[in-house]
């Protein structure tokens, strides 16, 4: 049986802080079921009188929210697959293979971390418009196909992995790629999971690139859709909160299910990013 711990004064700090962090999100969900005339009252109420779905109904009929969510899902899916493939290949190459230009290539990748987004907004937009991907989903996923962080993460992982297994595979006649694919990659599952979490989080939540490069409202990602919707529906809070719930729910549920992996990703991106 677990021993009951004595009451600690830390609760007096943690409880209000936890409330302050979680309550707005709880209110977001509850407000999405509350009619506007109930919302527009002071003092505000947290619990709706009854469950009212007009916010969701209006959101579905007045916006392309489902299309936006599908767009975001496509962007995230492509980003994750591309990240897993490209970054693990590159991470392995930089960690294990010897070839001319390896050092300079890796240094160039790491140097990109220093280049801030505001420097890239204008030329990237111009570049996207020259190659004709403005107003397409490609403008939202091309920036997330690979990342310096992803390459770095995978390289660190492969550096720490003992080389004996691959060497054995090579002696048994495996090609470099064969050894990577059949022996190394299955061992890299934890790193790949971390990378996938990071990529979903960044690509699903990204606002900058789709905002700059997409102005057709059928091609919006859910984040751009939300902020645009916010611009035209300043006071229809129920609808706005319904949109917020739909945009946040997928990651929220994923977080609650796989908290440990999420937190591992945050620790890694913090300490070694």
């Amino acid at each position: 049986m677990r021993r009951r711990l004595p009451f600690s004064p830390w609760h007096l700090f943690l409880f209000p802080v936890a409330l302050l962090f979680a309550l707005p999100l709880v209110q977001m969900v509850l407000t999405s079921f509350m009619p506007d005339k109930e919302i527009n009252k002071f003092p505000p109420r947290l619990i709706p009188n009854s469950i009212d779905l007009t916010g969701y109904q209006k959101l579905l009929s007045e916006s392309h929210i489902l299309q936006w969510m599908l767009n975001s899902a496509i962007v995230s899916a492509i980003s994750v697959v591309a990240h897993l493939v490209l970054c693990s290949l590159a991470g392995y190459g930089f960690a294990r293979l010897r070839f001319p230009g390896r050092t300079i290539g890796f240094v160039a990748v790491i140097a990109t971390i220093m280049v801030p987004i505001q420097l890239l907004m204008i030329p990237t937009y111009l570049m996207f418009s020259r190659i004709g991907i403005v107003d397409t989903l490609a403008a939202a996923f091309v920036p997330w196909l690979a990342s310096a962080f992803g390459i770095f993460l995978m390289r660190q992982f492969f550096l720490a992995l003992p080389a004996e297994l691959e060497e054995a595979a090579r002696i048994d006649g495996c090609s470099t790629f064969g050894a990577f694919w059949r022996v190394v990659l299955p061992l890299a599952r934890p790193a790949l999971a971390t990378l996938a979490v990071f990529t979903v989080l960044s690509s699903w939540n990204d606002l900058v690139w789709p905002l700059i490069a997409i102005s057709d409202d059928r091609v919006y990602t859910v984040q751009v859709g939300l902020t645009t919707f916010q611009g035209t529906r300043r006071i229809q809070w129920q609808e706005l909160m319904a949109g917020n719930v739909m945009a946040t729910a997928p990651l929220l549920v994923a977080f609650l299910v796989a908290q440990k992996r999420f937190i591992a990703t945050m620790t890694f991106s913090g300490l070694k990013g």
């Binding site: 999100l25 293979l97 505001q118």
Partner: protein
């Protein structure tokens, strides 16, 4: 001769294999970052609206920055943001981490509550925040009313808006900072703390003289990371105030966005972006230099 040719073939093969692995991702990352950054330097020396031909004006865009009062205001807002957000999120994040490092009940519940905002996007956070801080019926004013304080205008007040943006940004980032600190706290050797306690030091003194110094690399890293986050804060401003009211929350990055995508002033926008880039670099280098000088192994 024959062995030389074989050796050459081997070298070519190795190069091809290596770049087949590393090439695609490297090309994408470098091509979407260093190439546009260099291009931006050329754009910053022109007057250009993106439609007519760009006109080369040398460094005029850079000298203009000295007289641009909108830019000066944006720089000031950014300084305020960094000065409040960085220490604020570090102190609170550390406090939360220490609390979560205790052996008490409901830890899982607390942890979930504190980390969950990190998952919400800036857009969703911003919309939610403009609801919570709504002056007429928002929860923030209700909280003030309960503790007997007068209602505030928050995001609609020129003097409070930036402060509220800082609070919102902290709400989204504290979870991240405290996870990092939590991991670091668990690495502080228990013997160190025990030794100090045996020597008769109070818990507060142990914390101040043993734990805080041991955390210094993490603190420095977090300071750099959070500074860069604050200097580049764009999406949250976009989703809460769009730079308003009366430009009170217009940060430098937001100003770059307005210049480029609202006023089509690509040349000047790029110059301002370069100004911020140079400043960020100098700040980062200064912090790295400080860590080297003080022998804090953060980087």
């Amino acid at each position: 001769m024959a062995t030389g040719a074989r050796r050459d073939r081997g070298a070519v093969r190795r190069a091809l294999t290596g770049w087949a692995f590393a090439g695609p991702a490297t090309a994408l990352v470098v091509g979407l970052s260093i190439f546009p950054a260099v291009w931006a330097l050329f754009i910053s020396r022109t007057k250009w609206n993106g439609i007519t031909a760009p006109k080369d004006i040398g460094f005029d865009n850079y000298t203009r920055m000295a007289e641009d009062t909108d830019l000066h205001a944006a720089v000031w807002h950014t300084v305020v943001l960094v000065a409040l957000f960085v220490p604020g999120s570090i102190v609170l994040g550390l406090l939360v981490a220490i609390a979560l490092n205790q052996r008490i009940r409901f830890l899982g519940f607390y942890r979930t509550c504190i980390f969950v905002p990190y998952v919400a996007s800036a857009a969703a956070t911003g919309i939610l925040a403009s609801f919570v801080f709504n002056p007429q019926f928002g929860g923030a004013n209700e909280l003030l009313r309960r503790v007997g304080l007068p209602p505030q205008q928050f995001l609609e007040s020129t003097s409070q808006a930036m402060l509220v943006v800082v609070l919102i940004a902290m709400w989204g980032q504290i979870g991240f900072v405290s996870v990092i600190y939590l991991a670091a706290l668990q690495d502080v050797p228990a013997e160190l703390k025990e030794a100090a306690t045996v020597d008769g030091a109070s818990r507060l003194r142990v914390f101040w003289h043993v734990v805080v110094p041991a955390l210094r690399p993490v603190t420095l890293f977090t300071a750099v990371w959070q500074s860069i986050t604050a200097l580049q804060l764009f999406d949250l401003v976009y989703a809460t105030t769009r730079g308003g009211p009366l430009n009170a929350t217009q940060t430098v990055v937001y100003y770059v966005y307005e210049l480029a995508f609202k006023s089509q002033r690509y040349g000047y926008g790029s110059a301002v972006a370069y100004g911020l880039f140079v400043f960020t670099m100098l700040l980062t280098l200064a912090m790295i230099w400080y860590s080297r000088a003080k022998r804090i192994e953060a980087f």
